[in-house]
């Protein structure tokens, strides 16, 4: 049939609308872009040695939405592939894996939020978290003021049980126990949605090898180093030390959690009431952790400003900053309380600290915190997939 009789306008030599646009799954724009990139990257594979994402990609040929969400959450956003890629912008193939993954990740957090009604909190996360934190702080201050006589609120209290003069221990336990359990429940529900979405069977979570391997990989932030490449010193380099600061933040947070746990055991098992002297275990753990939680978030925030703007997903800036700020203020108010606990400022500082901590726990399932859960789970799946006995 001569070409002139053809009714069809299909041009076999026309570039598909988006380079690399194969049988791309229907999803959000962010996911579509990740799908496009995985098609591009899978036909190159030069980055296979950089991290877990590319080997996981190589193991696949088609990329349904669930797998794209898995890959997006597996990405640690180190940025190595962006600089190593011969097709990153301004190349017309516009391969920007860190940014696309970052966008898709942020969308996935929203998609997995539980209960659904709160998923909107991710939309303007910085604002949402600021408002909730402020309300929480205001609530504690108002509560303290309403329930306590000003002489008690602004009085000086020392010795065991000093804090409980302002808020009864049982009330504190009930309130924080509730919000803590809520955060855990909501996080588990989100994790369930993630696990289902990526299509991984529940049984994987009972296998010790992948769980342990992922624990090690997460604990060391193994995939935040772009394949173990270190480099020669150069006086012009401005290092951002993200891994160091993340360790400060994560282990600082864990130490603070440990401090609270030890204090709880002290209270119920040994009958010893807070506040504890500076050399006692809860205070030592909390102080070291608290210092980590001051240094870490500041360093991570700073890293955002020195990072290549081409890789930054500006839309999620608010979410990242909000979480860092919450951690920072948790620590700052806690340390201030430690230093000034024997002064009349204690009452307000306690309200402030409790307010921030309450806000932190309440917003945990609706903010950057969840990245740790989904990334750990993605690492579990990757460990299972890549396990070679």
């Amino acid at each position: 049939m001569p070409a002139t009789e053809r009714t069809e306008v299909f041009d076999p030599l026309a570039k598909p609308k988006k380079a690399g646009l194969g049988d791309i799954p229907k999803g959000s724009d962010a996911l579509t872009e990740v799908g496009r990139l995985m098609t591009v990257c899978n036909s190159c594979r030069y980055c296979e040695g950089l991290c877990a994402v590319f080997p996981a990609m190589i193991a696949r040929r088609d990329f349904p939405d669930g797998d794209l969400n898995y890959l997006a959450n597996l990405c640690h956003n180190c940025g190595a592939c962006f600089y190593d890629c011969q097709f990153s912008p301004p190349h017309e193939f516009n391969v920007n894996v860190p940014k696309a993954m970052s966008r898709a990740r942020a969308e996935s957090y929203q998609a997995y939020a539980w209960p659904r009604i709160f998923s909107g909190l991710f939309a303007r996360n910085g604002l949402a978290i600021s408002v909730i934190a402020a309300l929480s702080v205001a609530g504690f201050i108002a509560g303290f003021a309403a329930w306590n006589d000003p002489t008690i609120l602004y009085g000086t209290h020392t010795g065991p049980g000093a804090f409980y003069k302002l808020m009864p221990h049982n009330a504190m336990v009930a309130l924080f126990g509730a919000v803590f359990l809520y955060a855990i429940l909501a996080s588990i529900m989100g994790a369930r949605l993630f696990w289902r979405d990526i299509g991984e069977p529940a049984v994987t979570l009972t296998q010790t090898n992948p769980l342990w391997q992922a624990m090690k990989d997460a604990g060391k932030l193994r995939y935040l180093d772009g394949g173990g490449a270190d480099c020669q010193a150069d006086e012009n380099d401005t290092p951002d030390h993200r891994r160091f600061y993340h360790h400060c933040t994560f282990y600082g947070f864990m130490l603070c959690l440990a401090a609270t746990s030890v204090a709880t055991l002290y209270h119920y098992l040994l009958g010893r009431e807070a506040p504890y002297p500076w050399y006692d275990l809860p205070v030592v753990l909390g102080t070291i952790g608290g210092i980590g939680l001051l240094i870490g978030p500041v360093g991570l925030l700073r890293a955002k400003f020195v990072r290549d703007p081409d890789m930054l997903d500006k839309d999620r800036f608010g979410m990242d900053v909000a979480f860092l700020a919450m951690l920072f203020f948790t620590s700052l108010t806690g340390l201030a309380l430690l230093v000034l606990r024997e002064t009349p400022a204690m009452g307000l500082l306690l309200a402030l600290h409790l307010g921030v901590v309450f806000g932190l726990f309440f917003t945990m399932p609706y903010g950057k915190f969840v990245h740790g859960i989904y990334r750990y789970m993605a690492l579990v799946r990757y460990a299972k997939e890549s396990y070679r006995p």
Binding site: S43, C44, D237, H247
Partner: protein, 494 residues
């Protein structure tokens, strides 16, 4: 080390993505380009940077003139992935020894003898230390993984690929004080009796006269120069796609040859593979290549087969298909296969064109449907059943078909059917400048040039007169780059 990594990434950051384009220019102005440098390196790829670093390490002052913008720096090195160096033992990143003799035999086989044995053996010997030297310059290798194409014993793969390798070399060059000028096209060379005097470079719209004690020409081949290709290929060259950047114009090569430098390599020849016809004109790189010829049949625009698709194991005959397609009308061909083999080869950038019947596929491809039906029917009828194994020369073949498909012949019968349109994708050219073991350019009269050296693709024809072996181009670039830089530095200072 935790901290060192970030050090590294940020340095790449500042090196590659300059948020302040003005800064670069100011820096350029700060280094006085009017001063006389010891060594001028023209080019910005692997060979050029190895030469620049090597010359600088010998104490020479070095200027690198790179024609490309910063992002596109490095010519074909951008798209490379590994280098083939001899080594006596397995290492962390190589699975076994690769003796010098074996590398030489591999070279002899791919070039069918078109190599200068003395130079080749010298290069191979020097390649052994290259694995150490290049790492000292900051280049990282990765252990062999799934995607290393079965070359884990012979070839060293750059962690992150060729651009990562380039970034490392540029960082090192910067740190040790090599001056690099981007967007600096050399438009003229003043060469008198085999002696380089100066170069004219267009920088910021101005022509600057650049003087240096010695020249290292490392500016690649002429594969992106369609007019030049057309001299040998006629109008067909208009339909060629170029796998690297548009900067490989061969202008430095031409200036040198015009100045009486002895040429080497067949000027008409280039390394050409069949790549997706929908790829961009330039710089589509690795992701437009198609590994599926052996799995189907290849037809031209008349829907006729024209060559044995099962001649040899992929990728051994990878590079003949560019030439074969170049010889077909309109320089277009179509790899046609069916659903049964869809997932047997590396995916590529664009999806294949898909149809439920051969007739419909032909219509989509806009090639004669009856003819394609006939071609497929004839092929299917000629297939002799065997045991399919694409990793060996199996016994699946056709009988009584011209041209035959001698291995991996399987009927196209499982819908849907697919096709990739392909065109010749030009990787590099073979024409170059004659050099000796010092990488010193030889003049047409047989005398060595006084102060001119060459490294990389611009002289690869000395050792690679024909064919290709994965990673050999990078070996040529690094080894002769290092030698050229060292010799140029000595030459300039004596």
């Amino acid at each position: 080390m935790i901290l060192a990594r970030y050090h590294c990434k940020l340095s790449a950051d500042t090196a590659i993505k300059d948020p302040n384009p003005e800064k670069e220019r100011i820096l350029g102005e700060m280094t006085d380009l009017n001063q006389k440098f010891d060594v001028l390196v023209i080019g910005g790829g692997n060979a050029a940077l190895c030469a620049a670093i090597s010359a600088r390490l010998e104490g020479a002052s070095v200027l690198v003139l790179e024609r490309a913008k910063k992002f596109y720096r490095g010519g074909n090195t951008r798209h490379t992935r590994n280098m083939r160096c001899a080594h006596d033992e397995a290492t962390d990143t190589l699975t076994g020894p690769y003796p010098e003799d074996e590398l030489f035999e591999d070279l002899l086989r791919v070039t069918e003898g078109e190599t200068d044995e003395e130079l080749a053996r010298h290069m191979i010997h020097e390649s052994k230390d290259m694995l150490n030297w290049i790492v000292e310059q900051g280049v990282k290798f990765q252990p062999p993984l799934g995607g290393t194409l079965g070359l884990g014993r012979t070839n060293s793969f750059f962690l992150g690929g060729g651009r990562a390798m380039l970034n490392a070399l540029y960082n090192t060059a910067d740190r040790i004080g090599v001056t690099v000028q981007y967007e600096a096209e050399v438009t003229a060379l003043d060469i008198q009796d085999g002696m380089f005097v100066s170069a004219t470079a267009r920088i910021d719209g101005k022509d600057l006269n650049i003087r240096a004690g010695a020249l290292v020409a490392a500016a690649g081949g002429f594969e992106s120069n369609i007019d030049w290709l057309e001299e040998y290929w006629g109008e067909a060259a208009r339909n060629f796609l170029i796998r690297g950047t548009a900067n490989n114009q061969g202008s430095v090569l031409k200036m040198l040859l015009d100045a009486g430098v002895q040429q080497i390599g067949d000027p008409t020849q280039c390394h050409a593979v069949a790549i997706d016809a929908r790829a961009p004109k330039y710089d589509g790189g690795i992701i437009t290549r198609l590994d599926c010829v052996v799995f189907g049949i290849v037809v031209n625009k008349h829907a006729k087969r024209f060559y044995d698709e099962g001649e040899d194991i992929w990728p051994k005959r990878y590079a003949i298909w560019g030439r074969l397609v170049a010889q077909q009308p309109d320089q277009i061909a179509y790899i046609v296969f069916d659903h049964s083999v869809l997932t047997k080869f590396m995916p590529s950038l664009f999806p294949p064109i898909k149809a439920d019947t051969i007739t419909e596929l032909a219509e989509k491809l806009q090639i004669p449907a009856t003819s394609l039906d006939e071609t497929v029917a004839d092929f299917n009828a000629a297939v002799i059943d065997g045991t399919f194994d694409h990793t060996v020369l199996d016994d699946c073949r056709t009988e009584g078909l011209d041209p035959p498909k001698t291995h991996w012949a399987q009927r196209l019968e499982t819908p849907p059917f697919y096709a990739y349109p392909v065109r010749p994708g030009i990787t590099f050219t073979y024409l170059g400048t004659r050099v000796n073991k010092e990488a010193r350019i030889q003049m047409a009269d047989g005398k060595p040039a006084a102060n001119m050296f060459a490294a990389g693709e611009i002289m690869s024809g000395n050792v690679l007169g024909k064919g290709y072996a994965a990673g050999i181009g990078m070996t040529i670039g690094s080894v002769f780059g290092r030698i050229a830089g060292r010799e140029a530095a000595h030459n300039a200072r004596n």
